[in-house]
Amino acid sequence: MTLRRSSLRALLTLLAALLLAGCSKPEPYSETIIAFGTLVDVTLYAESPAKADEALRMIESDLQYMHETWHPWKAGSLGRMNLLLPTGGWFSSGPSLLPIIGQSTTLSEQSDGLFNPAIGQLVDLWGFHGEDLPAGPPPEPEAIAALLDQAPRMSDLEIDGIRIRSRNPAVKLDFGAFAKGYGVDRVIERLVELGITDAIVNAGGDLRAIGRHGSRDWRVGIRDPRGQGVIASLEISGDESVFTSGNYERFFEWDGKRYHHIIDPRTGYPADDVLSVTVLHDSGAVADAAATALFVAGREDWPRIAARMGVQAVMVVDTDGGVALTPAMAERIRFESEDAPDPQIRPLP
């Protein structure tokens, strides 16, 4: 009897303890920072508001620094480099630029040049380099052809220690398709240094997350490129990045035709075979470069480039509204829209 009564009491105590343990979770802290010409949304779990504030302030100054350093034409490290590259002579690079140049060169080679940060002049010609959108008209075909003839690419750069030169005067670096991914990676590094294990960093729609959202995974909705709302969702945890390149992000219209910001380095015109490419990968930098490269590759060729770049999980929505998934993405994604598409599964070569 006494034994049974005490075991009942023990059971009740255990239950109460479980309930109380559930209540004392660390609170998430959220802040929106304006950087990279976009809004960077940071949510992180910290032990105290002071710790969270410290981390957020540090991220804010990191982002500000990266924005100034990597701006392609304003006074800053990259702006200075872009003035010196056409001379063809050797000069010392700003030290923070060498790693981003190194990683983007590797990724550019892996992508068969479809991701090409050396076409800054082409981006300028189209007018997509500024924060304001171009009003049109599109550039003259002759001007585009002249730039294509010079074929600027990352392998034109020669690096010796901290010194750098370009063998091709047409090289102008523009990390518009890469800085977000690379920057988000640096922010996550900083958070890990500060001992933060659960956070999500969303830079204007492209994001990397570590850990989990309390007792569940982070939930990410992917915008429907065919219309309104959310097409699908992903649950991510541990350390993963989700990057999308879409033709709806930056564009202008001229003579009833729409010109968007993802330029095919082979033609000099906006790539027009797909609406959006979503890439899930550990590294934000790789996901960012791959999303751009696969967008340019188009609906036939993208699996080959994905395999070369080492990305496994990809979703491609083409201009006819068709959805293609790699097997790795098909395992993870959940469609949310009412007219859920019937996705085609494309294994990688």
Partner: protein, 175 residues
């Protein structure tokens, strides 16, 4: 058919179990006509008969009634080995577990009311786990769980109270 030499002798205990199982099957069949927001997931009214078997004749009788109820009941309504059958089976199994747990922890402090509630909650939980694992692996169905859990508490309370009143009238001493 050749005459068989096998002779089955039903003992008193067998007859009692058969009676209780028949009652449980009847309730099971009646219950199948109830509408439910998740097809096949039911409050498990028949568990009250299992509770009665437990209180009157002990643990083995309860197990026998529960198994007979699920198999015979599904044969009656024609759902044997269908999804509904597995839902009933898992419901009955977990109801037996929760009821058994309550029984072994505090049998001297319990009446049919407590046992019915334990059985009812176990029943609905077992069905939900099966429905989720085998039929609708979408977390959205768990939104219905709190509602059905509340309903099953009320059903368990009502059927338990009825069983308790019956016991008092029949003056059957609790085992």
């Amino acid at each position: 058919m050749p005459p068989t030499s096998l002779k089955l002798t039903a003992e008193v205990q067998d007859l009692r179990i058969a009676w209780l199982a028949a009652l449980a099957v009847a309730i099971h069949v009646l219950e199948s006509a109830f509408p439910s927001p998740l097809p096949g997931v039911k409050p498990g009214l028949a568990n009250v008969v299992v509770v009665m078997a437990l209180l009157m004749y002990g643990w083995r009788a309860a197990l026998a009634v529960a198994v007979l109820r699920v198999i015979a009941g599904s044969l009656f309504i024609g759902t044997f080995l269908s999804p509904t059958f597995f839902l009933s089976l898992s419901g009955a199994a977990l109801a037996l577990c929760t009821m058994g747990l309550a029984w072994f922890i505090g049998r001297h402090h319990l009446t049919a009311i407590g046992l019915s509630i334990a059985a009812a909650l176990g029943h609905i939980t077992g069905q939900f786990i099966t429905a989720w694992l085998l039929f609708i692996p979408h977390e959205a169905i768990w939104r219905l769980y709190p509602i059905l859990l509340s309903t099953s508490l009320i059903f368990g309370l009502v059927s338990g109270t009825m069983a308790h009143a019956l016991f008092r009238k029949l003056k059957i001493p609790a085992a």
